[in-house]
């Protein structure tokens, strides 16, 4: 049975990674999850300098999902390079570093810092709904997506994944723009902008008022967008959005994703990534699938 997939020339032992921001840099989860089992660890978004993030409350539960407005708190790329990457190098797994910024120069500066690091792929977050500048501002306008992708590609040594926002009318437009800018792969979806009100306090539940919605409740939306995107571009797509089980992951693979990421499920099932990997293997065994590539995009 072959579960290996490759994206932009990088081979993964299986198609399962973590969604950025839900797994830290793997350190906290390493006590509960054997990181060697994962196809890759995708680290929490990192900027050129430390970011303090938003005020609390930063999370709220919704029916079958949650809202977050962490605001991309991160210790900065120097700490990632000194502490987190060496930690992850102890494990036999690929490393995808998620990069955030407020300006094009910010992204480029981080990408340049990572140039000689043992990092396999870069994922560029142009779709965070919780920071005012950068983030989603870049991710909603196809011309901006194309130009920032092109600029990052000029400086990046590793292959570049552009992470797309679902908060657009037609995701294939930003997807094609990223492809035109030279992206090696796409990942989607980032969170959907949402809101919750505390009727007793008569105010927003999140200090940021709005937050990004994730969890099983968003899965059908994510799946539809992954299917549309995979059929609109010729570069690989990494699918995410509400994946909690192997069945969820298989849907994304069949819709055209070459790889999948487990996100919010890590919060309520720390073993979710392993459950997904083991469940995919079981499915392949019982359905007599020799190579996982037979499943990728098999639903047209």
């Amino acid at each position: 049975m072959n579960t290996r997939v490759s994206i932009a020339g990088v081979e993964f032992k299986n198609p399962v990674t973590t969604a950025s921001g839900t797994f830290g840099s793997g350190m906290e989860y390493a006590e509960l999850v054997d990181l060697n089992r994962l196809g890759a660890v995708t680290t929490k978004g990192v900027a050129i300098v430390p970011w303090p993030g938003n005020p609390t409350p930063r999370v709220a539960e919704t029916h079958g999902g949650m809202l977050n407005a962490i605001g991309l708190q991160n210790p900065g790329v120097d700490v990632l390079l000194e502490r987190d990457i060496p930690f992850l190098k102890h494990y036999d797994t690929r490393i995808i570093v998620n990069v955030c910024g407020k300006t094009a120069e910010d992204y480029v500066a981080v990408v340049e810092k990572l140039a000689d690091a043992p990092v396999d792929l870069l994922e560029i977050n142009i779709s965070c709904p919780n920071v005012r500048e950068g983030g989603i501002a870049f991710g909603q306008d196809p011309r901006m997506v194309e130009s920032i992708t092109r600029e990052i590609k000029q400086h990046a040594k590793q292959p570049v994944i552009m992470k797309l926002s679902p908060n657009v009318t037609d995701i294939t437009k930003t997807a094609k723009a990223a492809e035109a800018g030279g992206a090696d792969a796409l990942s989607l979806i980032n969170t959907l902008t949402g809101m919750k009100i505390d009727i007793n306090r008569r105010t927003f539940l999140l200090a940021n008022k709005t937050g990004g919605m994730s969890g099983p409740a968003v899965k059908p939306v994510a799946l539809r967008m992954v299917y549309q995107t995979a059929n609109a571009v010729s570069i690989p797509v990494i699918g995410m959005g509400g994946i909690a089980t192997a069945e969820d992951a298989l849907e994304f693979l069949m819709a055209g994703a070459s790889m999948v990421a487990v996100g919010t499920a890590n919060f309520y099932n720390p073993r979710a990534t392993l459950d997904v990997i083991e469940g995919i293997e079981k499915y392949m065994e019982s359905s007599r699938v020799e190579d996982i590539k037979e499943l990728i995009g098999c639903v047209k």
Partner: protein, 264 residues
């Protein structure tokens, strides 16, 4: 802290302590969760209803290491804790723990000295486990909404001096725990506190006035409970060595902090 486990736990007993305040005794299938726990730590409790994704962080009210049992006392604050209150003895629930750092017993005189425990409302339960672990003289200042108190007799049974404050004045001092502490000129070698943020602000100021250290246990909305998602941060006075900003994680670096470490 290397003993975090997600495990099923048998509910051995349920109890109702006051209106909206419930308790249960749990026997985790992985006994380490109870055996390695210390006062001030908490567990994540998972709902059975799959539409409620996130675990509810609940502090440990008692730790029975010998029999591998934990007592949780919580307030019904929403649908998740209501669901928990409907679980019956003999059923199992999913928990993860023990989480967080717990209270530090260091810094007290060799004979145990005099510890002051200040708890407001649903901040009271973790102080009971602490009171049991403290070797010296203990004064517990407990704040309730009204005369419907809970756990009070259990502090007394442990030999604590108990001082009560109620919002409506029906028992003890009318006001909060700080008012009660002032009225009774409460002093000691260390203050241990848990309760709502405004109260803990008061505790911090009171401790500063007396010139004694205070350990505050904070509450914040959490997602992962293990320090990865950065949802439950509080402001730290110094730049934190993990986050490299002025934020500490309540679930992992806390929930207990020395008052001078954090801004409230």
């Amino acid at each position: 802290m290397a003993d975090i486990r997600k495990t099923a736990a048998l509910i051995e007993e349920t109890e109702k302590l006051a209106e909206g305040i419930c308790g249960l005794w749990l026997r985790p299938e992985a006994p380490e969760v109870a055996v390695s726990a210390v006062p001030g730590q908490f567990v994540s409790v998972y709902c059975r209803d799959a539409s409620r994704l996130l675990p509810r962080p609940i502090s440990l009210c008692e730790i029975d290491r010998e029999r591998g049992r934990l007592r949780l006392v919580y307030r019904i604050a929403g649908a998740g804790t209501r669901e928990l209150s409907e679980r019956k003895a003999g059923e199992t629930i999913e928990i993860m723990g023990p989480l967080g750092n717990g209270y530090s017993l260091e810094g007290l005189p060799a004979d145990g000295g005099h510890a002051v425990l200040m708890g407001g409302g649903i901040g009271i339960p973790p102080l009971l486990a602490l009171a049991r672990a403290l070797p010296g003289v203990r004064t517990a200042v407990l704040g309730y909404r009204d005369g419907e108190t809970f756990l009070r007799e259990e502090f007394e049974a442990l030999g604590c001096r108990v001082i009560i404050a109620t919002d409506d004045g029906s028992i003890g001092t009318k006001g909060n725990v700080i008012d009660a502490a002032r009225e009774n000129a409460v002093r000691g070698d260390m203050i241990y506190s848990c309760g709502p943020v405004p109260m803990q602000r008061g505790v911090k100021a009171y401790a500063a006035e007396l010139g004694i250290p205070a350990q505050l246990s904070l509450e914040e909305r959490m997602a992962c409970g293990i320090g990865a998602c950065l949802a439950c941060v509080c402001q730290s006075r110094e730049k934190d060595s993990h986050s490299h900003v002025h934020n500490k994680r309540v679930c992992k670096d806390g929930p207990v902090f020395f008052a001078d470490e954090i801004e409230l």
